[in-house]
């Protein structure tokens, strides 16, 4: 919580700025709509957090999201009864992709940047190979409920977000989280303390895959089948995590802050939109803000106390 304070402060300022421009935003409906829109990215950020805190990267989540949506559409093919089996399958696929990423990273000892870059290519190639180039089939209404519908006034995606967020926080407080954190901090020490570091990292990748699967269910549900749902999400998720003050390289930062980072990014997009920054210049503003935010965080914290191998080269 303490570590999440700076980013939470930034978030509050952004939210206030949005509210000034758009008073609807403070009404429950307006705010819930914002949460709903942010939910997929926040969930992805939480998943990415586990990987980053363990000292790795997951660049494959964007294409995994696309692949999941395309798979769902083809398999469900408008068939209501297929909804639950396919959702189960999507989750299995997400976990499986994470498993492969994790195994290749730990057992083949390939830097995760490369493993997941390869996975990005493989997934985007394979899924379209399978569908012949464009999404086929259709999602069922039941499937779409999660991204579209709500329980009373509260969108399902917000409920799912809350559940996932709580689970992520709980996981990081549990033994798994503590040992994962230690692994990201000092893999050798963790291993010599009996931590199954490979297993911990594989599990982290699987959580990222799971997050991608859930994000895909929400995004597919929200807007339907599309071949580019996942485009660029990997960079957004990593940016969100870093914005939350979580260091690339591992061993530092809280999952709450990572999720707050995702909310901040989403709030930033909303704000730029509201203040009518021209479509293109939005990117420029975004770039400046991200650099500035990370720079501010770096200067605030003792970024370099004990020189540590790998700090400067977190990409490895």
């Amino acid at each position: 919580m303490k570590r999440a304070l700076p980013i939470l402060a930034v978030l509050v300022v952004l939210l206030a700025a949005i509210a000034v421009a758009n008073p609807h935003f403070l009404e429950p409906a307006g705010f819930l709509a914002f949460l709903k829109r942010a939910a997929p990215l926040v969930i992805l950020a939480a998943g990415q957090y586990f990987v980053i805190v363990s000292g790795e990267f997951d660049l494959s989540v964007g294409s995994l999201v696309t692949a999941e949506v395309v798979i769902a559409a083809r398999l469900i093919d408008g068939e209501e009864s297929a909804t639950w089996p396919v959702i189960a399958l999507l989750i299995v696929v997400g976990l499986l992709v994470g498993l492969v990423n994790g195994l290749a990273t730990t057992k083949l000892r390939v830097p995760s940047f490369i493993v997941t870059l390869g996975m990005l290519l493989i997934l985007s190639g394979a899924v379209f190979l399978w569908t012949g180039g464009a999404p086929r089939g259709a999602l069922s209404e039941g499937f779409r409920t999660f991204g579209r519908g709500s329980l009373g006034p509260v969108p399902w995606s917000v409920l799912i977000l809350l559940a996932m967020g709580a689970a992520a926080i709980w996981l990081m407080r549990a033994d798994f989280g503590k040992t994962l954190m230690a692994t990201g901090d000092n893999e050798r020490a963790a291993s010599l303390s009996g931590v199954r570091v490979d297993r911990a990292k594989i599990f982290a990748f699987m959580l990222s895959g799971l997050a991608a699967a859930v994000a895909a269910i929400l995004l597919g549900g929200f807007a339907g089948v599309s071949a580019q749902v996942g485009q660029g999400l990997e960079f957004s998720a990593i940016t969100a995590v870093v914005l939350g003050g979580v260091a690339l390289g591992g061993g530092r930062g809280s999952v709450l802050a990572a999720m707050a980072g995702a909310f901040t990014l989403e709030a930033l997009f909303t704000l730029l939109n509201l203040y009518g920054i021209s479509g293109a210049l939005e990117f420029t503003v975004q770039g400046v803000i991200i650099i500035a935010a990370v720079a501010a965080g770096a200067i605030r914290l003792p970024w370099k106390f004990t020189p540590r191998r790998g700090d400067a080269h977190a990409a490895s």
Binding site: I114, T239, T284, G287, H313
Partner: protein
Amino acid sequence: MNLLVPARRGEAQGGRAARLPEPTQMVFLVLLGLIAIGWVLVALDGGQFLTMESVVGIQQRSAALGIVAIGQTLAILAGSLDLSVAYLISLTSLVAAEIMAGRDGNILPAVAAVLAVSALVGLVNGLVITRLQVHAFIATLGVALIIRGVVDHLYDGPAGKVPESFQLLGYSRIGPIPVSALLWAGVAVVAWFLLSRTRLGYRIYAVGGNEEVARLSGIRTSRTIVITHVLCSVCAGIAGLLLASRLGAGAPTVGTDGGYDLESIAAVVLGGTALAGGKGGVSGTVGGVLLLAVLDTIFNQLEINSFVKDVVRGVVIVIAVAAYARRIKGRST
């Protein structure tokens, strides 16, 4: 109870692995193997693999990526990386074509402007990383967004015009060797020379190997990183010039469409340079780029669709780097 357990895996491999060449050399073996496989496959398909046109094609296809990847090699060796090259290429292609505006007399100013713009972007990358202490991944991603915004804001399609004389850069060849390939070779030789023969090169390896050790040994690490980023960006600028000469105009999407950011990084690691820095070199990168180009040529000849290509590329990259990791592990035990 626990008698005579079998020897460890690491040990068993040690002997074999120790005889394998460095990763930067291994990539050329893989390249040869791939050419052999390609030759067979294409022959079975009833075609001819290394025709004059495909050899020229391989070089043409490699040149731009090759030049960017050389720059990326420098950045990665110094323990950094540059995700802004793709947008920078778009930007510099536009700067070049706009200034040239179809007139021969403007070529020199245009080239100078491109070099200045790219050096400036490299300087910004380097300073954000060293002065503001932002991780290279985020710093260069941020700079990429900034350039993207500017380019998208100012341009919505190809612009400017490259005069005939400058287009020779992209199109002429001397026998089977395109001028663009010579340009690539030139950049590679300069980079190789820089890395292996100059103090700056030594410093790049040192900073990438361990920044703290480098600093304590009296190296101005920030300066080294900044210079490396300037060089990396200048390489991207040169690629932008080359692409402008090929396209006859500047194009706001030429860099991203080419995927020069992630693909250049892939080529570098495929060439055996460690993503963590401090280990590897230019020759490996040349091999890595050629490997990707030969793969492309095989796919082209066999008319395999782009989805299969992506899958194969992904698998090749991971397996190659896994092989290098094996080798290194074998060595160190």
